[in-house]
Symmetry: C2
Subunit: 203 residues, 2 copies
């Protein structure tokens, strides 16, 4: 494997440290210590922690399985499932205790770090558009219910996912992700779909 | 109005500062400065920032409208709506830019602050139980659909809410809350319910 350059070492260390600690609790010193590079060299590559965080976000998204959403060889509903399952599989290696980097940043930072904030908005917007497109495609071929609003449902799937990952972190378990699939995916299904959703209610 | 004691001043200032900055970015110095009390006096009242954060959480929950959920004089579905609308109304005064204190803490802290972490788990568990109870009651009197699993739906409503508040903060708008009501509440409705949910799909 090729040896990492200083820049790559910084990005790799920051990706791990930001995910573990969040944006505010992770300073430049923490990152250069983890990367094993002198602090002085940091500023040769990044003018500010905020700009490094944007690059870390891009690295994080690169493995978010967005290409799964766009793979038209797979039925739209199945693509949506595989996409979110792919993200969930990334949390498993941390025992579900780390949550999602994007949601962490969303809760922690604000427009006082305007470059990072704008990047977050842009990326969440792109993600939402891909999910909405898959829903509309499923509605077009009647594999996804036409009684839902594709745009509102796409937004809500993504909005809710951020909370699901926080709850997963709190519970240190996959349970909230299972709730997401059983509850949030329910309205997408065509009536009479075989997927089990009903359980006897306690009255 | 009675003059606040030092302890109350610290709790009030911490409530505002934690909500604005999050747990990690808000230190004891920030809190005592905002409270206008000497730093030395802080430790007469709180052994650690973590214990103050637990008290702040309790203050936050005291105005979360949990009593609305338990008010059996109102129909269960309406109670659920009023409860979440009550929480949403608290965000409005900050232009929807602050998010939810509970979700912020959930994403930022971990079991490295075990007292706060345990408190968060306990409070979220109590909240979930109240929401599940309202859903079961609505299923009992047939005002809420019996095709949903009351427990999973209650968990998901609360899990998703944490993401909705993050998205609201990112968008600086109420939009994600409206998505929550139109999408997440959909499965609770009885089939044929007059609440508008359907919009013409783009095919």
């Amino acid at each position: 494997m090729a040896k990492l350059g200083v820049r790559e070492k910084i990005v790799a260390a920051a990706s791990e440290r930001f995910h573990a600690l969040g944006y505010n609790a992770c300073g430049v010193q923490e990152i250069v210590d983890a990367a094993g590079v002198p602090k002085g060299s940091f500023y040769n590559y990044f003018k500010a922690k905020e700009l490094l965080a944007c690059e870390v976000l891009n690295t994080y998204w690169a493995d978010a399985g967005l290409e799964i959403l766009a793979d038209t060889s797979v039925a739209p509903l199945e693509r949506l499932r595989r996409h979110f399952q792919h993200i969930a599989s990334r949390y498993k290696k941390f025992g579900f205790e780390r949550g999602c980097l994007v949601s962490k940043f969303m809760h922690e930072v604000s427009d006082s770090t305007p470059v990072l904030w704008k990047e977050l908005r842009k990326q969440v917007g792109r993600w939402t558009a891909l999910v909405a497109e898959a829903i509309r495609e499923g509605q077009g071929d009647r594999t996804i219910s036409n009684s839902i609003d594709a745009e509102a449902t796409a937004r809500f799937l993504i909005e809710s996912w951020g909370g699901v990952t926080g709850a997963m972190k709190l519970a240190a378990s996959r349970g909230p992700i299972d709730d997401f699939f059983s509850v949030a995916f329910g309205p997408l299904l065509q009536p009479g779909s075989p997927t089990p959703r009903k359980r006897k209610a306690r009255v």
